[in-house]
Every structure is written in C-alpha cells, then in structure tokens.
Subunit: 409 residues, 2 copies
C-alpha cells in the first residue's frame, strides 16, 4: 500500500462525463489498496468564463478579488468529483486551498506555496477517505485567498506529495508521457520510461509544454517522484521523472530533442570590444521589459566584436527599433541586423556530461544535410542551435535518428 497523489487538469475534468472517468481511475487505485489524494483544476473553459466577467469590469482586475473569483473554478470541480465518488460508494471529502490549509505568500495571482498543513488530510486518509483538493489555490497568513497562476494545479499536486511524503505524484494530462521529441514531427518518437529532472527542466523550458516549470522545480527541491500519464488512455505507466540519475540503468546519452520557432535573432555588428558593452546593449532591453533567451558573444578581433541574442518573436520589431535608435549610436556600433525566420533546436541529456563528441556529432549530422547553423549555445546537459526555420522539422528528424532515439536504450 502506498500513498499516491494524482493531479487532473481542466481537460480531464471538462464535463460530468469526464469527471466520472477520472473517478473510475481513482477508485481503481484505491481499490487496489492505495491511499489517494487528488488535486484538480477548474473544468476547462470555466477559468476563462470567469476572467471574461472580470474583464467586463476592469481591464486589469484587482489582484485580490481576481483570486476570490477564479478560485471558485476548482471549488466547483472538487465538489462534483467528490459527489461522483460518493455516489459510487467511496468515502470522499473535498478541501479548498483555504481548508487544507495551503499557506502561500501574499503575491496574488502568482503566489508561492510556503507550507501545507497535512494533518487533516492524513487523518482522513487513515479513516479510509479519498481526499480531493482544489488545485491552483491557497491562502496567505491572513486567510486571503491566493492563486498560484495558470498551471498552478501541477504545483499543488507536487506540494501535496512533498508534504505527505507520497510515493509519487501522478500528473494526468492529454499525452501519455514525455517523448524523445514531438511525435507530430518525428513519427518514430518514443515515450521515455524515465527522465531526470534536469532533462525535464531543459525540455520544459525549451518548448515541451507538458508540465508547468515551477512544479518541476518544486518536485526537484523536495525530491518528489513525478509521473506523467494520460487521463484518456486506459493503461500505461507514463514517464517517471526522477530527481537523480539512476545509477543502475544504462541511460541514453541523449534523452530528447526540443524545438521552437517562437524566437527571433538580433546581432549588433561592429561593437567596440570593451568592458561593460554587454550591459550597455542589454540594459535598455531589460528596462523595456523584453525577455532575452540565448546570448552569444565571441572573442573580438581588431578591438571589435559582434553581439547576438534572441528575443520572443513578438518583440522583434520593438527590440530592433530600440537598438537602432538608441543603443547603436550610443555605443558606436556599425549596424544592427536580425531575423525572425529562425528556429531553435536543442538536444538534451544528462548522458552528454560523460561523453565527448556529442556536439561534433550534432553539427556533422546537420552539415551532412546542408543545414547551416546560425548560432550555438550550450549548457551542461543541452546543446542548442539556431537554424533557418524552414529546416526545423528536418533538423529534428535528422538528430532523432543520429542519436538513435527511435531505439530503446
């Protein structure tokens, strides 16, 4: 017998019919002897319905009152799911974030969980109850209702699992696990049985939108085992996300390939190679609230260098304008050039730490197909390249094959 936390998202509980499916899955786990705590999101569409009401009143709704409003979404779900379980004959009790209580800081709309009082839940579990908790919400030290921001139900699930020392936290989504890459691009993409947190973090931030990044950080911090599963498939063990490399396992060198075409590249040409120049370029960008992703500066030549970075594609024009009108004359750069027809392709894997030649294999594979690499950036467990966006799918397929990701390790 184990204690398991399950999290179901808005699509999984989007109708009474789907809530009944979720209840059957929960019941099956409990019947096989497990203690179950469930965290749920609002029914899909409900949060947007409430936001629309708020926006009819205020362009930027009051943060405290917005939390009072949208937190009703999950409260409706916990009541309905509990009713279904009770109707099926299971002892069940629901809790709002306030009732648990899930203590957060006072940052409305994007609160962070500080502490969870697990005593009531523990007592209910010991008395044979299935416990259903509203995701996404908590209360600050004064009892004000807070929400964790969109996708925060994942974080609630992980935080509950940490507080209860659960065996694992199962995140039910509309995919049945984490894949080596997007199966829509590479049909041979393979579901990973396990993946490390670090790899998951890189994959999540690089564009695999399966889990909210904060929940993965949280799971890593508290060493909660996360399992990503499909709420629609009958069976399947999903993908287990572990907080350390499994030493007993022959791990693949590369776990997966991430990609996105949300970015644009900008290069400031002919920059005087002197201290403080990076700040002089990126300071105004940060002041304008523009997020920067990759940053590349190579060693200079004849006292001059080129400075490149990427921004979100939506910010491309604005960033170019600002650099040309303010920064270029200010620092005496030769020119500012850029393009938004690019894509970023990254290979991710903890295995590359201990293997040499991964980067050269990546670059050779791309070269053999005539794909030009525009920019390169690396971290300890990933290598990212910027290529022309028209080659993105091709690059992903080539790399998937080159690193044998279609074969089980």
């Amino acid at each position: 017998m184990a204690l398991i936390v399950q999290k179901y998202g808005g699509t999984s509980v989007g109708s009474i019919e789907r809530i009944k499916n979720v209840a059957c899955r929960i019941a099956k786990f409990q019947s096989s002897g497990h203690q179950i705590v469930v965290a749920v999101s609002a029914m899909s569409g409900e949060t947007n319905r409430l936001l629309t009401l708020a926006k009819e009143i205020q362009g930027i709704p009051d943060p405290r009152e917005l939390d009072v409003l949208v937190s009703t979404g999950e409260q409706v779900t916990i009541a309905l799911l509990s009713m279904v379980l009770i109707e099926m004959g299971y002892k069940t009790k629901s809790y709002t974030g306030t009732q648990v209580r899930i203590l957060t800081d006072a940052a409305h709309n994007k609160a962070r969980i500080l502490q969870i009082d697990e005593s009531r839940i523990r007592a209910d579990l010991d008395a044979g109850y299935i416990v259903v908790v509203a995701g996404f919400q908590g209360a600050d030290e004064f009892g004000n209702i807070t929400t964790l921001g969109r996708g925060g139900s994942d974080t609630t699930g992980v935080a509950l699992a940490a507080a209860l020392k659960a065996k694992e936290c199962q995140i039910y989504t509309d995919v049945d696990g984490v894949y080596t890459t997007d199966p829509r691009v590479v049909p041979e993409a393979r579901r990973l049985k396990t993946i490390t947190f670090e790899e998951m973090m890189e994959l999540a931030s690089l564009g695999s939108k399966i889990l909210q990044i904060r929940s993965v950080e949280f799971a890593g911090k508290y060493k909660v085992k996360l399992r990503v599963l499909s709420s629609f498939a009958e069976e399947g063990e999903g993908t287990l996300i572990t907080f350390e490399e499994d030493k007993n396992m022959e791990h693949a060198i590369i776990s997966g390939i991430a990609f996105n075409r949300d970015e644009a590249k900008i290069t400031v040409l002919g920059v005087p190679d002197r201290p403080g120049i990076a700040y002089q370029i990126l300071g105004p960008v940060a002041d304008a609230n523009i997020d920067v992703d990759m940053i590349i500066q190579n060693i200079g030549n004849d006292g001059m260098t080129n400075f490149s970075f990427t921004v979100n594609r939506n910010e491309f024009e604005r960033t170019m304008d600002m650099l040309k009108s303010q920064v270029q004359p200010d620092i005496g750069a030769r020119d500012v050039v850029g393009g938004d027809k690019i894509a970023k392709v990254s290979i991710v894997g903890v295995g590359m730490r201990s293997y040499v030649g991964i980067a050269s294999k990546m670059f050779r594979s791309l070269a053999e197909e005539g794909i030009n690499i525009q920019m390169i950036s690396t971290s300890e467990i990933k290598i990212s390249v910027i290529v022309d966006e028209k080659y993105m799918e091709l690059a992903v397929r080539i790399l998937h094959k080159a690193f044998d990701l279609d074969q089980a390790p």
Copy 2:
C-alpha cells in the same frame, strides 16, 4: 455617520450591469459618510446552474459537497461587486463566509448561524473600506463550508447587522416596501412606513413573500432594525420593520391584509368528544409528514364534535385518503369531508390588542357582501378566515376599505 448593512438578492446582482447599479447605490451611501457592509446572493440563475450539475450526478447530492459547490455562487458575486467598486475608486474588500468568519452549526444545506467574528470587518471599516460579504454561507467549527438554505442571504445580512450593532439592515428586493396588501389585488394598497416584527412575521407566514421568515425571527431576537427597499427604484425609504411598538406614534389598528389560496380544508364529522381525540386524528397526519396550518375544534354537542384543519393543497387527496381509510374507522367518526377550493384571508395588526370590536367589524363587512365564512382562527395580532376561493379578492378589497388601509394613519 452610521454603520449600515445592505443586502442585495440574486435579481439585484443578476448581471454586470445590475452589479454596477448596486455599486452606485453603495457608493452614494458611503460618500454621504456612512460605513457600509454589503451581503450579496449569487447572481440569479447561478445557484440553479450549479444544482443542475449536482443533480446530473446524484439525485440527492451529498450535503457537505453540495455546500462546497453552491457556495461558489456568492463568492463570484463578492469578487465582481468588489471589482466594480474598486474600479470606481472605492477601497473595498470581499469576504467569504469562511473568511469572516461566520460560524454555523454543522447542518449542511440548512445551517444556523451561531456566531460572527466581526473584528476583521470592523478593522476594515475603520480603515475606510467598503466590506462585501458572501451571503447564504458560513463554516462550521471544523472549517467545513455550510449554507443557510435558500434565502439565507437575508439572514446573513441581519446577523452581520446584529454582530456589528449596525444602525439598520437594508434588504433590497424587487418591491419597494411592505404594503397593506398586494397592490395587484387592491390598487389602493399603501406602502407602510413602519411595521412591527410581530406583524411582519404574521404577514410573512401568511403569504407575503418579501423576507425569509428566519431572517425576521433573527432580527427580532437581536433587535436589528430591518428596512425593506427596492433595488430598482432610485429613491424611497421603503418600510422599516421595528422590534417594538413605537409608543410615540399613532399606529393603525390594522397594518395589513394577507391572503393565500394554497390550502385545503378537511373536517372530520361526528367525532366522539373525548380526551386524546385530537391526537388520534393529527398523529397519523404528522407521521405522514403532512404540515397542518389552522386547527379548529368547537365545543361538542351530545358527546360528539367536528374537528377541522387545513393542509397544503397538494396534500389534500393524500390526507383525505388516509383519514377515510385509517382514522375514521379507528375513532368511529361519522364522515370525513373537505374541499380545496378555499382561500385564507387574514387581517394583521398589533393595534387589535387594545381595540375591541375588530373581529365583529371584519365579520360584518364580509357578511354585508354575502361572503360566507367557513372557518375562523385568531391569534393575538391576527384574525384569519377561510372563505370560498372565488371570493378571495373581493374579501381582501372589502376589508382593505373597511379598515381604512387606503388612508395614511
């Protein structure tokens, strides 16, 4: 400067537009120097929407979970109303029943308020906030969400007024006060400036559906001044319900006339006039969960008497069947007769305590128009008669005129 509690029902907050109207009214009161606490219901239609979801799952929804579900209705309203007030530039804070906290017993779906912690509200008022509280809901000693039953928002308003020692509790409805009788029946019906609680209780229980009876009881118990007002009329002082007779005021003998045609009459004829007979007749009726309203037994004659009572019209057939098949043979009564084409007309007024001849004036007025009185029942401040339902409107009009209710006192 006074502290005023205002309560707005579901129709008054049924849309963003109407919530804006409510906000304007609240703002006007605050701007004229009052401290304002507002209790609100769910937007009209919302509670029914939620109940429909629950009924898709359970014929009789789990009481605890039903309260978790339906309490979201008022929570949505407090957030939206607060946003409107904030957008208008007013300092405003919302509270759920749990947050206040409004402590109730554990009787889900029909809880009773035990205590209100008014400290947070008081602090907010002193800091210049308008305080918006979710009506209809509270929490038991363990923090479980409870609701007070339909119409419970009135009770929340009154209970808040009692806890805060408010100057008055204003109940905004779709009528602009309490009338001497229904203006649809008697066009000359006049709005009462004041009415006593006792009169209001009689009028409410006799069919004037302006206020939930429990809230009037509650107001009486805690001596809260209630004022009934229209949320749609621009101006108007409504009707003030006072908890004691105003000694300085020339009070009318009769305050109003109530009526309804929801009842049916039943008479057991030729009942042996012996101890215990009333119980032998009404015991089985009570056991069958049938509510009885008027009960009349006159003194016997030759050891026999007739025993009459009224029941809800929907229960007429069932009650008749039971009496004929079980009670009549059991007690040896001669016959059971009845009719459901009746109406009850009542005159209500604390003034009748100190005036004789009120009853005879009522009976004479009806007799002069040829209206036969089938049954009579009296209490200290009301006289009710049962007449043929076809004479109901006529009887109301005659009595309204006979007691000069169309004239200001």
